[in-house]
């Protein structure tokens, strides 16, 4: 087990030195949500994520934000409490509409 950990550590170190940095990787992660990545990009992203839990979490978080925002957008009107048309706005609109009809 100890040899395995040592080997893993060595591989991690080796890869981190040669792969794109986290700063370059997060930009790729964002682009992966907009366009299909090339094979080369996919491989270096996969390898980076394999050894970097920070970027792994980063990618999960972006997906979570997207999923939650879209779910909220679908449900928002029924769920939101407090935010309703103010009485002033309601009267203003009512007045405007009665002038038009």
């Amino acid at each position: 087990m100890k040899t395995y950990d040592k080997a893993k550590h060595a591989i991690r170190f080796y890869l981190l030195r040669r792969l794109p940095t986290c700063q370059q990787t997060v930009e790729k992660i964002s682009q992966s949500m907009e366009r299909p990545l090339t094979l080369r990009e996919r491989i270096s992203l996969k390898l980076h994520l394999w050894i970097c839990s920070w970027c792994q979490w980063y990618m999960e978080h972006l997906q979570l934000i997207r999923d939650a925002a879209r779910a909220r957008a679908d449900k928002a009107p029924d769920l939101l409490t407090g935010a309703t048309l103010s009485d002033e706005a309601r009267e203003r609109i009512r007045h405007k509409l009665s002038n038009q009809s």
Partner: protein, 202 residues
């Protein structure tokens, strides 16, 4: 009631009742996207006015609310288009904070996450977050400091799920501009949510 009366009743629009039945619903729909009460009120008003003009085309087909939301969607996009025109893209195009400091390590790992900004584990699901109004308050506050155009691009993409080409057309920007803006918005928002929501929960 005779058939003719029923038909007449059906065909004359009743904007006062629309306002009572759908006003709040449409307002909530708009305010989540526009994050501005006045702009959302205007969008609702424009929706009803447009609905009044286009009533003949509706003819009671389908749900009234779905029809109104369909009009509102266009009004919201018009709003984004208008704010874009008021602040046309300049020489010094502001795409939002670059947050290079997130990766400004001073050791040999320059370009990797600094300890202060490295992501942590979140333990949350979309289903839980959808219900939390206080989370969406933080979400809105986190989007506010971004340049208007960047926040609009983010909303159109991540909330409404529009395609890149549609967003570029609405905001008059190139695809590469859009990608840079989305990347910076995500980097900023994720960090802001972590600081102001997920860390607080621990």
């Amino acid at each position: 009631m005779s058939e003719a009366q029923a038909k007449a009743l059906h065909q004359s629009p009743d904007p006062g009742r629309w306002l009572d039945d759908h006003g709040d619903y449409l307002f909530k729909y708009a305010v989540f996207r526009l994050r501005d009460d006045t702009a959302a009120e205007d969008a609702v008003q424009e929706t009803f006015l447009a609905a009044l003009k286009a009533y003949e085309k509706f003819e009671g087909r389908g749900s009234e609310r779905t029809w109104l939301v369909g009009i509102l969607k266009h009004k919201i996009i018009d709003h984004f288009r208008r704010t874009q025109r008021e602040a046309p893209i300049g020489e010094e195009f502001e795409e939002g904070p670059e947050h290079a400091d997130f990766f400004a390590r001073v050791d040999e790992w320059k370009g990797h996450w600094t300890n202060e900004h490295a992501p942590t584990e979140w333990h949350a699901t979309p289903a839980e977050l959808v219900e939390r109004s206080d989370f969406w308050k933080v979400f809105g506050d986190c989007l506010s400091p971004l340049p208007q155009r960047t926040a609009s691009a983010f909303t159109l993409r991540e909330v409404d799920g529009l395609k890149s080409e549609e967003i570029c057309e609405i905001l008059s920007i190139s695809v590469s501009n859009l990608w840079v803006m989305l990347h910076r918005a995500r980097l900023h928002l994720r960090n802001c949510l972590e600081l102001n929501w997920f860390k607080r929960e621990d």
